[in-house]
Amino acid sequence: MIPWLQRHLGLLDYTVAALARRKGRNAGLLAAYTLIVALLASLLLQGEALRATAEDLLAGAPEVVVQRLTAGRHDLMPAERLDALAGLRGVSRVEGRLWGYHFDAAIGANYTLLVPATDAPAPGTARVGAALARARGLAAGDVLSLRTYAGTPLAFRIAGILDEGGELVSADLMLVSEADFRALFNFPAGHYTDLALAVTNPAEVRRVAQKVLERLPDSRVILREEMRRTYASVFDWRQGLLLAVSVVALMAFALLAWDKAAGLSAEERREIGILKAVGWDSGDVMAMKLWEGLLVSLLAFLLGYVLAWVHVFHFDAAVFRPVLQGWSVLYPQFRLAPRVDVMQVATLFCLTVLPYVAATLVPVWRAATSDPDEVLRA
């Protein structure tokens, strides 16, 4: 083998033996360090996934949605109102939407039922999202029976599964025909859930909203732009939280690094003196300490990142659940799609691994460059 590699393997060997001397202390250090990395990485991973998901959700959303209010609550939209808005200047299209939630007690989950504006399934059939199909063990051709609001069963033949691994939004979606939708929910004819407006000129969205409210004073107008802002404020808030948690985590981290950075114990200095006396040069000592720093911090980084991944994507960021409250009001059933941002990994790496390695190396420098005959005077 190459002597260069042998040398580093030898130094690494020494580091491992040296670390093993204080197993409990070093294991504790590794655990604390891992947790800090896991916390920071969870925040980063979750933030990134939320941002991306919001983009996905908004991409398909109409520019303007009009809901009817009754005593301040969302109510069914009479179809006549569609005509009231059809002639509005700047509005290129008005569409009545039919959508709602169906709670499936069998799997304890909500489906989002939707009648697509175009290419709706034939009555008696449905197309379902991949997650839903998995949860109910459905394949194309199978029959799914739901209980209508009238208490009778309604059967759907599955005509297709929506694009596996594609749109996150479609995971729990069930597309049905208008007739089935109305039958299932006992939804009165001549009514829609809400209205979706397409606007010719995006700059006119606010003016259009104004006009809608003039014509239909008992409505609520939701702009895509506003939803984007809502998400943004959720993110801003999260960003602030991220900052606060990061500061705390980095302080804890600084404490960890402190006992290293504060300087070497007499014992450590003596050890380095001995190494120098028996034939290690400054470079050997530094390389050995570099291995020590890398070993601890890379291990903590990897473990912490994996922990964060599992936490965010398998346990839906359980630790941060309370922080997500604002979000889950917007989207009650909402799963994060795993996403890795290379820049983010690099940032986290720089924030955690490099300072620790530096904190390990800097105080060693003086001892490593001491004269090899120093141990003779002890």
Partner: protein
């Protein structure tokens, strides 16, 4: 072959506590010979050994190793030469606490880039030779003085140096163990190595194992 040419070592030169610990010493050391350095405490024996052992640089004069002047080499090269040619047994052993006997013996071999299995094999042979075979995996703090001394000798020999230097090798041992350690040093000499030791222990000189005895006083060599 190591030679000192009018070598001096002054500590804290130019300061009020300036001290000339070694003054103009000229000496040569040949392979297969055991040199004993005697002298009272503070006479400069340890300092002289550190110059011979390339652990320190002289403030004046030259140190030659196999005819080559090494006193002015940069640290890295000096360390490499020391690692390859010189084994130093310190008076206070200087073993690394918490590591096993075997790991301690291997320490000087680690930065050489020598294959680990080979170094380990050599370390175990040395420990057997020194009667420590059964102790290889024990932590060094559990060793007796004699065992610690022999571990230090094994460590000094791990890179197979031609020169072995022992500073007061019997200072911490009773006379039985002292005899044993001196016997080991004599064996190393018989293997053809250059062996240099310092001592103010009369036993060393009574046993007559030294091929040459040098006396030091106030940093100078005096007639034995």
């Amino acid at each position: 072959m190591i030679e000192l040419v009018s070598v001096s070592k002054t500590f804290n030169p130019g300061r009020h506590n300036e001290y000339a610990a070694v003054r103009e010493v000229s000496l040569g050391f040949e392979p297969g010979r055991l040199t004993a350095l005697r002298g009272p405490s503070g006479s400069g024996k340890t300092t002289l050994l550190s110059l011979i052992g390339l652990l320190a640089r002289p403030t004046a004069g030259r140190v030659r190793l196999d005819g080559r002047d090494v006193s002015g080499l940069p640290e890295r090269f000096m360390t490499e030469l020391r690692r390859a040619h010189i084994g130093f047994v310190f008076q206070s052993f200087n073993l690394i606490r918490g590591l096993s006997v075997l790991d301690n013996v291997l320490v000087p071999a680690l930065p050489t880039g020598r294959p680990h299995a080979q170094a380990r094999q050599r370390a175990l042979e040395l420990l057997d030779f020194l009667g420590l075979g059964a102790r290889a995996d024990h932590p060094v703090q559990s060793l007796s003085g004699g065992e610690a001394q022999r571990t230090a000798i094994a460590r000094a020999l791990i890179n197979d140096p031609q020169v072995v230097i022992a500073d007061e090798p019997t200072a911490n041992l009773d006379s039985e163990l002292s005899r044993q350690v001196l016997g080991i040093l004599a064996t190393l000499r018989d293997q053809g190595r250059t062996v240099i030791l310092s001592s103010h222990d009369p036993l060393v000189f009574e046993l007559g194992i030294a091929d040459r005895v040098l006396a030091m006083h106030d940093g100078r060599l005096t007639d034995a």
